[in-house]
Each structure stands twice: as structure tokens, then as C-alpha cells.
């Protein structure tokens, strides 16, 4: 799905449960960055859980309907922007099914009493940045990242799922955007390795070696931190790493907002379990 003619001023925004709670710092910094870039993010009114892995495992139909309710709430005239890769996946997958199955579409429209647009573009924030183009980022650059060495960590979902094979791939965009802002991406680490997802709650013993492996790969290439596009990855990499010294794990939106000159970063970074402020101060990025 490519939408070259999108109007990127007003966007519907689906935060998702993680950005609403545990990863609120990602939400706030995203809003900040979007404001600086001239994007007007309008939170989807009364949105609900995208369906999540758990609902999809226990009851695919309930999960599907959960995703579709969100689609029924989205005004057709603005693109729906999603930050969480897993939410993006579930919303897009549901949307694809509605396109394939007209009778399901009609049933869902009756259920929610609202029309659902089959042309609704559902896009990730990275996609918005790419469409905005490099000029806008360069204009907005206030704090050069001073060669901050980071691993762009995508996690598993942004590119993987076969269901989204027809979609645009944003391989490398995290790195490219931050390179433009003065960072130095180190891509020869485990950038797409799954972080352990929900197993972190029920089988931490399986997740811990996995997270350690990801972080070891980052240390091996000389990274100072990881920048991730997924809030769940960010949390798992922070809480399940068992060896020292721990690398700070940033939300992509935090680093972006920081480079674009946001000032209220203190509130985001104090919410991290691995304090990133010493690193940023050493790089003269924060006072």
C-alpha cells in the first residue's frame, strides 16, 4: 500500500494500550515531535484494544471485531496513523479481511452502526516521516545527535508478517531518519530479533536469554543504546536484561523529539528503568 497523495496535516492517531499506559513517554514525545513537524494528530475517539495477541489466540472473531470497531471510529477522510507495530498489524489485517469479504464488512457495519471506509489508509508513523520527506526533518533539527551510536531495533512485527507482504517495507528507515539527525546507526546487530513479546509475563525464563542475546549483539558492534519502534520491545529489553552495564533503550519518538528540540524530556527519561540521562549528558544532548 503506497499513498503518495496523502494529506499529512491532519491524521487520526491510534495510540494503543501500551502507549496509553506503560509507554506514556513514547506517546508524549510522539505528540511533541509531530507538533514540531507540523502534523496534527487527532486521537481516535474512544478507541479500544486492537485485538492483541491474546485475544487473537483465544478467540479470533472477538479479536477481529475489536480491531474493526477502531476502523469504524476512524473518519474516512484522514489517514489512520498507528505507532505500535502489533496494533498496526492487527488493524491492517482486519482491514484486509473487510476488503476481501463484502458480507463481513456489511455485518460489521450493521454491528457498529457506522460506515467503514475500505480506502482508509492505515499507516505507521515511520511511513508518515518518509512521506514528509527529509527536508522537513532537516528544517526541524535543533539538537544534532552528535554521532550517538545506536542500534535501530525494529523488533519482529514491523516488517515480518506474511499477511502484510503486499505492504510497504520500511527496512532501514529508522536508521536513515536518525542518521539525518546526526546519529550513527549500527545495523550489524540483531535488529529484527523478536523481543519475547507476551512470554515476558508468563515465561520470563525463555525471554531473558533472548533479550541478553539482543543486547550482547548491540554491545558487540559498539552501540551506546538501542532505539526501538515498538513499545513492548522497549519494555522487554529494559526489564528482562540481566547483565551489566545495561544499555539505555529509547523509544524512537523520544530520540526524534529530542533532536527536534523538545524540552520536556525529563519527564520521559525518568520513566525509564535504565536511566538514559548519563549517556545523553555525556553526548551534550541534555543539560
Amino acid at each position: 500500500m503506497s499513498h503518495p497523495s496523502l494529506h499529512l496535516t491532519d491524521l487520526s492517531y491510534f495510540p494503543g494500550c501500551s502507549l496509553e499506559s506503560s509507554a506514556r513517554e513514547s506517546n508524549i514525545s510522539l505528540m511533541e515531535a509531530a507538533g514540531i513537524l507540523g502534523l496534527n494528530l487527532i486521537e481516535l475517539e474512544d478507541w479500544n484494544c486492537c485485538g492483541s495477541s491474546s485475544a487473537n489466540i483465544l478467540d479470533k472473531e472477538i479479536a477481529f471485531s475489536l480491531a474493526v470497531r477502531n476502523l469504524s471510529l476512524a473518519p474516512a477522510h484522514r489517514p489512520l496513523m498507528v505507532m505500535c507495530p502489533r496494533c498496526l498489524y492487527h488493524l491492517r489485517e482486519a482491514h484486509q479481511r473487510l476488503v476481501r469479504e463484502p458480507e463481513t464488512l456489511r455485518a460489521q457495519e450493521r454491528r457498529w452502526g457506522r460506515p467503514i471506509s475500505l480506502d482508509l489508509p492505515i499507516i505507521h508513523f515511520l511511513e508518515v516521516l518518509v512521506l514528509l520527506g527529509p527536508a522537513r526533518l532537516e528544517q526541524g533539527l535543533v539538537r544534532n545527535l552528535n554521532g550517538l551510536k545506536f542500534v535501530p531495533y525494529y523488533g519482529c512485527t514491523l516488517f515480518r508478517p506474511p499477511a502484510l507482504r503486499q505492504g510497504t517495507y520500511y527496512q532501514g528507515e529508522l536508521g536513515r531518519v536518525l542518521t539525518m539527525l546526526g546519529g550513527e546507526p549500527l545495523t550489524r546487530a540483531l535488529t529484527h530479533r523478536c523481543c519475547g513479546s507476551f512470554l515476558s509475563a508468563a515465561r520470563a525464563d525463555v525471554v531473558t536469554p533472548l533479550v541478553n542475546e539482543i543486547l550482547a549483539s548491540a554491545v558487540a558492534v559498539g552501540a551506546e543504546c538501542l532505539v526501538t519502534s515498538c513499545a513492548m520491545c522497549q519494555l522487554n529489553l529494559e526489564i528482562r536484561c540481566t547483565w551489566e552495564p545495561r544499555l539505555p533503550i529509547f523509544h524512537f519518538s523520544e530520540i526524534l523529539a529530542l533532536a527536534l528540540g523538545a524540552e520536556d524530556y525529563e519527564g520521559w527519561f525518568t520513566r525509564h528503568l535504565v536511566d538514559p540521562r548519563p549517556l545523553l549528558a555525556a553526548r551534550n544532548l541534555i543539560a
Binding site: 499506559s21 506503560s22 484494544c49 491474546s54 470497531r69 526489564i239
Partner: protein, 196 residues
């Protein structure tokens, strides 16, 4: 074929397996339900080599495909592998035959639940149940509520207590759940249509 030596644990060898007595329609069913062609699998084991979770699995992903191909329904549905799989799709992407292995795992989980098979990873299932419970109640996932109810269910209050407390201290888990206003629209999804 010699029976396995006594005292030695051989997986799947509690008794001799007679293939002719197995579920000969299993592969066809899984294929239809998952929408992917598992007969293309020639067991090159690429899936297992790439799988981040292989440590926690009893069968490698292709091993589960083998069970399905042989019609070993119970062994497939009762395997740990299908619950350890989080659906990261690494195997699906790496498979040289383009088999969506994650979709096969998802289908097997669904069948295991529908048929009341013995669930090998009850903790994982309990966690999923609590997430869904939270969604039913609030329309959104409330992490603290999920974790508390999950801990109560599995009686493991002290596992991960340090992580939980650190998350609370950093206000990563909200005491109050974020809620959907029109919660009726959500709860209605959980009631069968003939009861509404």
C-alpha cells in the same frame, strides 16, 4: 522395530506408533484452516535455526509439521511448541518453501482450545485469559490488573516481584485502568448473539 529400552526417555515413544491408526485428515484440515501448504515442507530445519524461542520448545517448528503430516493429532495439540510460539513470523519469513509456519501454530492453538486438548503451557494460557478479561472489562489492556489476576491464578506472587515493583515505582503500571466510554459495545462482543 524394537521397543525403546526401559528407563530411557524417548519422546513420543510411550508406545509404538502405528501410522495407519493416526488421523489421516489432520494435515488436510490444518492446511485448510491455516491457509498455508504444509506439504511443501521438506524438513530443512531453517525454521528451528531461526526461531528465537527454540529453547523453550519440545518440538522444533518443523517437528510439529511432521506430527501433523503423520496425523499425530494429540501430540501436536498437546505440544509446548504451539504455546511458546508468539507469532513473530521469523520462521514464516525464513522458510525457503514459503510456508507460513506461524499460521500453522495459530491454527493448532485454536484446535487445542476448541477440542479441550491438554494444554502444555497453562501459565501462558492463563495470561492470555487475563488479558482478554481486561479487554472485556475496560476495552483496553490494563497491565497492573492483568498481572495481579494472573499472579493470583498461578499462585506465583513472588516471581518477578522486583520487576513489578520497579515498574510501579516508575509509574509504568497505572493503578486506574484506561477505559472505553462505550463499554457496552465491547462487552456485547463477549455475549453469544442468541443471548443478547
Amino acid at each position: 522395530m524394537n521397543p525403546p529400552k526401559a528407563g530411557r526417555q524417548v519422546r513420543g515413544a510411550e508406545s509404538r506408533i502405528v501410522l495407519a491408526e493416526q488421523d489421516r485428515f489432520l494435515a488436510r484440515d490444518i492446511q485448510r484452516l491455516s491457509g498455508t501448504n504444509l506439504n511443501r515442507c521438506y524438513h530443512c530445519r531453517t525454521c528451528g535455526n531461526g526461531c528465537p524461542f527454540i529453547r523453550g520448545m519440545d518440538y522444533p517448528p518443523n517437528g510439529v509439521i511432521r506430527l501433523v503430516q503423520y496425523g499425530l493429532r494429540r501430540q501436536a495439540l498437546e505440544s509446548h511448541t504451539i504455546w511458546i510460539c508468539v507469532g513473530c513470523h521469523t520462521c514464516s519469513v525464513q522458510c525457503p518453501m514459503g510456508i507460513d509456519i506461524a499460521a500453522i501454530m495459530a491454527t493448532l492453538r485454536r484446535l487445542a482450545l476448541e477440542e479441550g486438548a491438554m494444554i502444555a503451557e497453562t501459565n501462558i494460557l492463563d495470561f492470555h485469559r487475563e488479558v482478554l478479561h481486561s479487554i472485556k472489562q475496560y476495552g483496553r489492556a490494563h497491565k497492573l490488573g492483568i498481572m495481579l489476576r494472573y499472579k493470583a491464578r498461578v499462585h506465583q506472587w513472588f516471581a518477578d516481584l522486583d520487576v513489578g515493583l520497579r515498574m510501579l515505582a516508575k509509574r509504568k503500571m497505572d493503578l486506574r485502568a484506561s477505559r472505553v466510554q462505550a463499554i457496552d459495545e465491547i462487552t456485547r462482543l463477549f455475549i453469544p448473539h442468541w443471548k443478547r
